[in-house]
Amino acid sequence: MTADAVRPNLPPLSLHVPEPRFRPGDAVDFADVEVPPAGAQPRPDTAAEAASFHELAYTLVRVLDEEGRAVGPWNPKLDPDTLRKMLRDMALVRAFDERMFRAQRQGKTSFYMKCTGEEAVAIAAAHALASDDMCFPSYRQQGLLITRGYSLVQMMNQIYSNKGDDLQGKQLPIMYSSREKGFFSISGNLATQYPQAVGWAMASAAKGDTRIAATWCGEGSTAEGDFHSAMTFATVYKAPVILNVVNNQWAISSFSGFAGAEATTFAARALGYGIAGLRIDGNDALAVYAATQWAAERARTNQGPTLIEHFTYRAEGHSTSDDPSQYRSAGEPTAWPLGDPIARLKQHLIALGEWDEERHAEQDRELAEMVKAAQKEAEKNGILGHGLHQPLDSLFDGVFEEMPWHLKEQQQMMIAEEEASGRPWARKK
């Protein structure tokens, strides 16, 4: 069929398939990644028309310059205590990730996902939002929980699916949920949280509430239909929502080009919907803070949604099931031109005379100890092992509010099975 249709007087068509610039073994040079100077971008009024964001959707809003100074109109001018708290939260997430990654490697749980290099994205945002704003995260925003003071032991209990797990061992590790901390239950199905966040924001607006919603997805996930449905609802109803796209350059093995990055930016997705779009340096905690604060004010004053693209880099594997050396150059993480978010914020605080290397090293030691102690505590409740930590009959809890006959019957069947097998599985008291 193909060959027959080719007319000799016309040029044959060709299919473009994107290709990342570097593969395993390649030397990395990011010289052509455009990094405009910090402080160069204007900060429009939060009531500005969405159409006026064209420029901001294509450039990179940056606050911290190469010397660690905060410059330009987006400088949120935070006090040293807030800066130190942000730095501490970021370092704590990194220490937590290290420890839990190792726990998975030691066979203590089935799965783990780090956010190394992306700590600023969740943590600076959590500092800029009100504590009762509602978050609809993806799986790399553990920083939201850490900043909001959720207990490390509870997080680990969830990861181990042990006796102390708030989610009763029903969820995959790291798929946390905390209504109390304004942290919506994470789904393994990508981008489903996006329209849900918009719905929550619409409900809040309809009720005359003052709380706004924020949601996060990866750049790869922006291809999902859910993302686009969310954008349409958000713009139509001017939903008070902040739509964050974490562009960390890679989905699993697919680089951002497969989500459309060769043709445009992710912030520019906003423009076609009439939504304000900001593209920011995601490794600059101050830029993340400033953009979130700006978008929150816009939402709170009924000016509608904002899409923020956080330009960052996934410094480690996708998850414990992934081996990034199979598909990307080993040189990428270190060559990444926007540096490391923790190092940059630390440099800033040192430049201000509000921090020093000794205190930082001491803090790292303290945080490592804290995480270790939390782990010890959590492991008293058990590790995943054979999954015998939850009472057997709890398997049927929570399918419905009240258990229908067929589930009761199946529950009985399971208990009979257990009795026949002589397995030592725990039961509810």
């Binding site: 069929m1 089935s110 699916s161 969820q171 199905n189 069947m413």
Partner: protein, 334 residues
């Protein structure tokens, strides 16, 4: 070969034979898929025949339908069967009906590959068995292999088929057969006859079940991982069961089933998927309709429970040897 290699080999053979076969999906290109099922294919056949896609299952299937309408034979991968739901509209309303609604002007010759099933601590979103959703839809075929040998032969037949085929790969047995005892050492395919896989082309026609163990006491209908769990259980309990591996659910090999049930007079169906409205209900109903006067006991169903797939209590959920053994006792009682 293990099952991944067999599946890889099927695609390799078909891409080599037929330039219209193309492979697409999340991470299937350079990297060769998160389970490595497409490893090496892009290097061999080039980027325009084996490529990564954006993360949009609905887009993947919709685009594959368009490619099929052009005259290609797309083999899209959905990374986990749990992620097939966003593509459901394109599969159910479009691919499944294209031939019917266009009176044959257009067809959708896709083979959608997707790893499915539990037993790997994958939690709710990496463990489901959605085959019953597709058997309920008119116009798609549903295929589920239980050995590397079958996987290759069936996948080749699926790719050659002019209708849309959903090809579910039981990921629990990618590396070896599984007897249902999670606490015993894993076996690998090298010791199993189903692990002997020829390099070249061969096909196993869709719609033909396999009698994996002849017997007289009862007929057990199973597919995928459950074939092995059933086989091990029956051997451990010393029961003379006839075990039928269905291999394709639609079209179903009703003759083999009928013949067997008429002979044994008892029938049990086993699947991992949830019970209510599962494919087991269809099987029980068919057997009841066609073999009622030969039955000496009600048809027994052994299935997963009607809950989402739990993470920590995975082994309480999984229909293992104990649940199967209890059902066997019940059905063989009188």
């Amino acid at each position: 070969m293990n099952m991944i290699q067999a599946i890889n080999s099927a695609m390799d053979v078909m891409m080599d034979r037929d330039p219209s076969v193309i492979v697409m999906g999340e991470d299937v290109g350079y990297f060769g898929g998160v389970f490595r099922a497409t490893a090496g294919l892009q290097a061999k056949y080039g980027k325009t025949r084996v490529f990564d896609t954006p993360i949009t299952e609905c887009g993947i299937i919709g685009v594959a339908i368009g490619m099929g309408a052009y005259g290609l034979r797309p083999v899209p991968e959905i990374q986990f069967a749990d992620y097939i739901y966003p593509a459901l509209d394109q599969l159910v309303s479009e691919a499944a009906r294209l031939r019917y609604r266009s009176a044959g002007q257009f067809t959708a010759p896709l083979t959608v590959r997707s790893p499915f099933g539990g037993g790997i601590f994958g939690g709710q979103t990496h463990s489901q068995s959605p085959e019953g959703i597709f058997t309920h839809v008119s116009g798609v075929k549903t295929v589920i292999p239980s050995t590397p040998y079958d996987a290759k032969g069936l996948l080749i037949a699926a790719i050659e088929d002019n209708d849309p085929v959903i090809f579910f790969e039981p990921k629990r047995i990618y590396n070896g057969p599984f007897n249902g005892h999670w606490d015993r050492p894993a076996e690998n395919w090298s010791k199993h006859p189903g692990g002997e896989v020829p390099e070249g082309y061969y096909r196993i026609d869709l719609g033909k079940a396999a009698i994996v163990r002849p017997g007289e006491a009862l007929t057990i209908l199973a597919y995928g991982t459950m074939v092995h769990v059933v086989q091990a259980t029956v051997e451990e309990l010393g029961i003379d069961a006839e075990i039928i591996d269905l291999r394709t659910l639609v079209p179903l090999d009703i003759e083999t089933i009928e013949e067997s049930v008429r002979k044994t007079g008892r029938c049990m169906v086993v699947h991992e998927a949830t019970r209510t409205s599962g494919f087991g209900a269809e099987l029980a109903s068919l057997v009841q309709e066609r073999c009622f006067y030969h039955l000496e006991a009600p048809v027994e169903r052994v299935t997963g429970f009607d809950t989402p797939y739990p993470h920590s209590l995975e082994w309480a959920y999984f229909p293992g040897p104990v649940r199967i053994g209890q059902a066997l006792k019940k059905i063989l009682k009188d």
